[in-house]
Symmetry: C2
Subunit: 221 residues, 2 copies
DNA sequence: AGCTATATTTTGAATAGTCAAAACAAAACT
DNA sequence: AGTTTTGTTTTGACTATTCAAAATATAGCT
């Protein structure tokens, strides 16, 4: 029984949620419902079915967690999604700001043949255009914990490596400010009262809010 | 209300059926059900819904026909399908024998943006890898009536231009016999008793059944 | 402990698509 | 005209997915 698009979306949402919360915590129903974009009751129903199929472990009134089978599946969906994004940017010449929506649809229908073809054409890339790591065909997913603009040392050259937000206007903004993955920058200072971070990118001095700053991950050179 | 994959498939099947029958004839329910791969009753139910939406004209116990709105939609699906096939062959390096299945899935989810990008990358191709004409973005579909290996003059050089069958092993067979679109050949003779046609392709002499021969369309040089 | 606020589950119902089998219409053949 | 064959429609039922609103549980606060 191969998983429907709907099931794949629940698994993917769960995978993201688990990653963004401290692991070992169950994902609460409300959060999952929210992430998938359905009413709470719908999530409950679906999760019970997923638990039946052995894709998740479910504790009523507490939350859900992916089983190992569920994790495997979620990871493969993530692989498809990210390879597609990389393909759309590198081969089709689309903007990194726009590819998420298309990938979201395509990830549920591309055949293995096609995915592996893309992977080969792209030279087996390690990350997608947003710097998100691409799982291997056997489900292995490297996921180092980076610093962000919020946590890295000040006045030290660092490289943007990953952006954990798919909002297209945010991505376009970063691009315009020379804050795309690969670009070298420096955090000049942070002002917790003003809830802001000041960055030196290229010749430019940019000030962004801390929430945005936390989405921009970096590596120290 | 944008059409579901299911609706798109009914419209596409209807479009093909209309083309392969003399036009002005309604497509009988049974044939449609067969083409879509559902039980007869299911087709009846669906067709009544499509008629409600104004996509088809339906006469109980007689048959169905696409309305102009239905034709427009079917044509756009065909455009997506054929551009995708051409893309998979030209850009992704896949075999013309294999692309149909993938295109069948992708045609329902690719965005307009993506379709137009592919079209541009391919230089606005007129036909797909099987020689099927690609409708333009505004729904215009050129569809000249070709000769086939069954109807063309004997011992006259002709060019294979189109193959109206997606069966992957048939396509592989044609490829091996140098009978792909673009290749120059000659029909040597036909034997109606043996139900066969003898063709000179490249250096080779190939004999195929008349049913197969009718699927290979040609142009006289 | 008792009450309130919040989150979760249940219930009842809806939509899209499907099937099998019974009922029926049209065509074809005596 | 009467009967059989063939094709079509109807009926009743099922799966997957969803929602709104009622019922219930847990957690938080007094």
């Amino acid at each position: 029984m191969l998983p429907s698009s709907t099931v794949e979306n629940y698994l993917k949402a769960l995978h993201q949620a688990e990653a963004s919360m401290g692991n070992e915590t169950l994902v609460p129903m409300g959060q999952l419902a929210n992430a998938v974009g359905v009413a709470p009751g719908t999530a409950t129903t679906m999760v019970k079915a997923l638990a039946e199929s052995g894709l998740v472990e479910y504790e009523p009134y507490v939350g859900v967690r992916l089983s190992s089978a569920g994790t495997r599946l979620a990871t493969l969906v993530l692989r498809r999604h990210r390879l597609i994004e990389q393909f759309l940017v590198e081969v089709m010449g689309m903007s990194w700001a726009d590819v998420h929506e298309d990938a979201e649809q395509l990830e549920h229908v591309v055949s293995d043949r096609l995915v592996e073809r893309m992977d080969a054409m792209l030279g087996h890339p390690a990350v997608d255009p947003h710097g998100d790591p691409i799982p291997t065909a056997d489900g292995a997913l490297a996921d180092p914990d980076y610093h962000s603009l919020l946590t890295c040392p000040l006045s030290t050259p660092v490289t943007v490596t990953r952006v954990t937000d798919q909002n297209s206007s945010f991505l376009r903004f970063l691009e315009a400010q020379e804050l795309k993955p690969g670009q070298s920058i420096e955090v000049e200072n942070r002002n917790s009262a003003a809830d802001s971070v000041q960055v030196l990118a290229g010749e430019r001095r940019v000030t962004i809010g801390t929430n945005a700053a936390s989405k921009v991950l970096i590596e120290i050179l």
